[in-house]
């Protein structure tokens, strides 16, 4: 990982709010719009060929971030750079090219495919709109794509409802691969699937990545999956990346108390390792009224005065492992509690 550091895609201080619609009376009385702060200054680089895991609990902004990356949302502040260019400025053909090179796979296998189109039509449309192949070669390419995602050739003439959840996710992957992308953004790719089927799809994703030299952004709430798949992991909390580092370093020696808590809370597959104490008390604060200072200060067991006044930024003692925590200056007291 160390050697190949070509930055393909990067987020620079990206923020995104979703305003609640105001009623007519609210508008007339000049009430300010109330907004959910979904992303609050997210920055990271995506390196060519890597898998970057983005993990966090619901409401942490990971899905919004995924959608910003493929321009399903436009950022309110900051920008997404692709090969050194601001993607918000891309128009027409350039924008279509960007769409082809950065593709997304969706979470819900039941709503992400048009129920009235056969698999052949779904794939042919992607191939046709982006003029990936001359018309005569489209049937052969469809067969190739289905083979790539390990679906039988006769799948082409079926409708989405004739497939199981896992097979539908394969169709979604085939659709994304049809336009020969370099970056795949997978938003909770397997979380709607049964455990045994999850493993199949994860295996497929890993094989495809090797075969096609894909760069993957793997967004998920399941820590085990993210650990399994990712080269690097970003942990998000309330619309901010709180920690970003190499997977093993982050999982074995976390530098942010929230990461530590998340790891403690995730149930291990080892009956011998049980704890009776709760990993963290309290719940997520409202994303409408964010806490001042560190966003995690309402639940952090180590919070001190400065955490309630200054918001920590993602800083690095070592450039491969960033954390947004004031405690990094004090040698991370929670680290010795860790069991590797």
């Amino acid at each position: 990982m160390m050697e190949r550091r070509e930055i393909l895609l990067s987020a620079e201080n990206v923020s995104k709010n979703f305003a609640f619609p105001r009623s007519l009376t609210q508008r007339l009385t000049g009430k300010p719009a109330v907004a959910v702060h979904a992303l609050n200054g997210v920055s990271f680089d995506l390196h060519r060929g890597e898998t970057l895991g983005i993990v966090g609990e619901s409401g942490c902004g990971k899905s919004t971030l995924a959608r910003c990356l493929v321009r399903l949302h436009d950022c309110d502040e900051g920008r997404i750079m692709f090969e050194g260019r601001d993607v918000a400025a891309l128009k027409g053909t350039e924008r279509r090219q960007f769409n082809a090179r950065v593709q997304m796979i969706f979470q819900d296998p039941y709503s992400s495919l048009n129920p009235r189109m056969r698999v052949r039509q779904i794939l042919a449309e992607a191939l046709g709109v982006h003029k990936m192949k001359p018309k005569a070669q489209i049937p052969a390419r469809i067969a190739e794509l289905l083979d790539l995602v390990r679906l039988p050739a006769d799948a082409a003439d079926k409708y989405p409802h004739e497939f199981s959840g896992g097979q539908r996710q394969r169709i979604g992957i085939a659709r994304a691969l049809a336009v020969e992308p370099e970056v795949l953004v997978a938003d909770e790719l397997v979380s709607a699937l049964d455990v045994s089927v999850q493993a199949q799809v994860v295996n497929l994703l890993l094989q495809l990545q090797e075969q096609l030299h894909l760069t993957v952004v793997f967004v998920a709430h399941d820590l085990r999956l993210v650990r399994h798949i990712s080269h690097r992991v970003a942990v998000m909390y309330l619309g901010k990346i709180v920690e970003l580092g190499q997977t093993e370093a982050l999982f074995t020696a976390p530098r942010h108390p929230y990461t530590k808590v998340l790891l403690d809370a995730a149930p291990e597959l080892d009956p011998a390792r049980r704890s009776k104490t709760v990993a963290v008390k309290g719940e997520l604060p409202s994303p409408v009224n964010l806490p001042t200072g560190c966003l995690f200060n309402t639940r952090c067991p180590h919070a001190f005065n400065r955490c309630f006044t200054d918001r920590p930024v993602l800083t690095a003692r070592d450039p491969d492992h960033l954390a947004a925590c004031h405690l990094t200056d004090f040698g991370l007291p929670f680290q010795n509690e860790l069991t590797a």
């Binding site: 045994s196 093993e248 149930p267 597959l269």
Partner: protein
Amino acid sequence: MTPALEVSHLTTQFTSGSGKVTAVDDVSFAVMPGQVLGLVGESGSGKSVTLRSLLRLLPRTAQIEGRVIWQGQDLIGMSEKQLRSVRGGDISMIFQEPMTALNPVLPVWLQIDENLRTHTSLSASERVARARELMDLVGISDAPRRLLQYPHQFSGGMRQRVMIAIALASNPKLLLADEPTTALDVTIQDQILKLILSLRDKLAMSVVLVTHDLGVVATTCDHMAVMYAGRIVETGAVSSVFAQPSHAYTRGLLGSVPRAGTQRSQLLSIEGTPPSLSAIPKGCSFHPRCEFATDICRRSTPAMLPQSATHAAACFHSDRVIAAGSPVGAQ
């Protein structure tokens, strides 16, 4: 020790337009006093229907057979009226989605009070005191104010706590939990599971926990039963099953979950998808997906065979599965 709950040969069938569907097929298990039993399986495995069959909380089209012995009485043969005093009384149930299980138009205190009135003989003022006590017990602070609120004013995790408070109102001796943490985030799941465990200790309850998450089983349950296509395929002490899975499905399921030290390697996955209840394969229902399957698996249904005093599996090839080793054993 005599079991708190003993289920034998429980079979639940649904009549639908296209015929009969067997959701639960000849299921037997026991829950010891104070024990947490995990019923684990994928979608359509019959784990939730099993749980609901215990209290006959199923639509009218369901036919339930077998015996569910609770304190010397058979819940299956019991009259509807007798059963109502058991439901929410000695045996309480909590659900996956508390927002739909709670009544959205009633304040929380009324919903707790309802259960107290039905199952206890407390006076009005005693019931108020008890409701506050229950809120404290499940870790909701500021009880006097929170009791007056409606379900939508609680977060997902808090709602699950409210539901547990309601379930505990009658001092149950058995708690049936149907995927209680599936809709929750991992830090909140951790809180709720630990809460259930501490309540089990405090109130000396038994718990039957339905889940699809083997991690939840590993960290929460004492005993486990793995279900596939309506049948229990393996049962035993959690540590024993994890250390030595004896059914090919259990082994595959354990191997499907990523764990530390296997980064970016191919997971031991199970090919295919779980069968739909209307098309359960003949013989061992797992054989089309099984790497160990032979002719006998296609022909006949394996019986539960004990592996040890606390561990049994229904697999013709247990010895080969055991020889293949546990995917999570060597850590």
